[in-house]
Amino acid sequence: MDIRLDGIGHSYGDVEVLKDISLDISSGQIVCIVGPSGCGKSTLLRFLGGLERPKTGEVLQIGSPPEGSLNPLTYVFQDFALLPWRTVKGNVSLVLEGHGLRTDQSSAIIDDVLARTKLTEFADALPKQLSGGMKQRVAIARALAVNPAVMLMDEPLSALDSQTRELLMDDLVDLWSRQPFTAVYVTHNLAEAVRLGHRVVVLSRRPGKIREIVEIDKHLNAREFGDADLDAHQKHLWRLMRDEARAADAELLHA
């Protein structure tokens, strides 16, 4: 299943946040969206999953979601959004309940996704017992459980420290290599973008427009921390963004 953004524009009151965004997201690819703060990248992601409606333009699903997909458009949130009163297993099972699955079916799914995210031995732990990185892995396991057509990741690693972030990036690359998934990955961190993105979409400052789309051909598995060609991409992205970011930083909020 592909996703097409067709002329998306949006404003909050008088403030125009997004303008004329058109983009195709083809399946099996990770598309990273970067941009200076306040450029509407998270808003764009909310449009993609139907949590908010754009003022102009529309989001189209092209083709049908894979067989057995319980929730084709699935988010991974920056703040994890785990229910603190449910165990790891319970948090995953939350999104399987209400789909008429038999107990053995859903526990098979839970076991599978927990194994894929290396959480099997923490199945009965409560979120408060887990580190930030583990919490985000639970959220990723929960997203995988519904077999999504597209994963919508809203700064998933931004709440984590830089070491945990590296580890989780490796985990995401592993997950993708074993079973490619489609993802839209919003981040302000350019290192994440060049590490995980097949394509990196650079938005301008408010109102956000597509400034450039950078294609990175190198295979995800072959990318390493500190690769020279990735660094070159990252520098290029930063050059694109620097002036925008500076101008965005100097703007008054809601002015």
């Binding site: 949590l51 603190p84 009163w85 939350l94 999104v95 209400g98």
Partner: protein, 276 residues
């Protein structure tokens, strides 16, 4: 100690430091188990000593040991059970009605704009009414029997429960609700699995207040048409100026309060162990 620099330039260098003054700490009370009983014991001993020594007159306050004897007689004569039974059933039935309607209305206020706009001013209007003042009205509406007593206690527990509940629903993390929506959970699932458990801490702490009010109202409820009951017992002792019996009754209410509070503490420990 200060040393002169070797070159004698007059620059002074401190070689022995002073330890940095500690100025953190405090502002985080921790439970000290034995302090509570000690305070109770201290007050009782003071009262006993004062009444025996005579610097507290018998008219001002009964002797704690006499109150204890009265309590013992009450227990041995079987009257305690006779008074406690009806009171407890009034408390349980009344509070159950008030709390369950209160939680229901509170959740509705927390979730729906129109109900919120319509009900919040209404609740604000009935909250400050002394429910005791309405007892004659309840007697007309629900009869002189148990009905009016249940109604009074239910009404008294309803308002604080509503206020606590909608506050608690307001405080449920919206990002969890968005998460539920993003996974396509039904409205009812979101309410049952996210809103209600998320509001539980607030609802339970509201329950502490509601149930204390229920005990307060017990005495009021038994003002009219009650032969037996702790409230009736206290009122009768009061009108006869029988301080020993009055205090014995008051002690029972206090104990009830402590028991209820402990029970809620246990429920909190069991249901809210997910809180960090």
């Amino acid at each position: 100690m200060l040393n002169k620099n070797s070159n004698g330039s007059g620059v002074q260098k401190e070689t022995q430091g002073r330890s940095v003054t500690f100025r953190g700490g405090g502002f985080s009370p921790k439970p000290r188990r034995w302090i509570g009983p000690v305070v109770f014991l201290f007050l009782i001993v003071i009262a006993e000593w004062g009444t025996r020594a005579g610097w507290i007159s018998a008219l001002t306050m009964p002797r704690p040991s006499d109150v204890f004897v009265t309590f013992q007689q009450l227990y041995e004569s079987g009257l305690l059970a006779k008074h406690l039974g009806p009171s407890l059933s009034r408390l349980v039935v009344g509070a159950a009605i008030g709390v369950s309607i209160g939680i229901g209305v509170g959740v509705l206020i927390g979730l729906f704009s129109y109900i919120r706009s319509g009900m919040v001013p209404l609740i604000a209007a009935i909250f400050p009414i002394p429910k005791i003042a309405l007892l004659p009205l309840f007697v007309i509406w629900f009869g002189i029997g148990e009905g009016s007593k249940y109604a009074l206690i239910a009404f008294g527990t309803f308002t604080p429960t509503v206020v606590a509940t909608y506050g608690a629903v307001d405080n449920v993390d919206r990002s969890l609700i968005r998460m539920g929506q993003s996974f396509g959970l039904s409205w009812w699932s979101i309410v049952r699995k996210i809103v209600l458990p998320g509001a539980m801490p607030g609802i339970l702490s509201g329950l502490r207040i509601s149930l204390a009010i229920a005990i307060i109202l017990l005495v009021a409820a038994e003002m009219l048409g009650a032969e037996y009951g702790i409230g009736a017992y206290i009122l009768e002792a009061g009108s006869l100026y029988d301080l020993e019996r009055l205090f014995a009754g008051v002690v029972i209410l206090s104990l009830l309060g402590v028991i209820v509070s402990t029970l809620i503490g246990l429920i909190e420990r069991y249901m809210l162990d997910w809180r960090s």
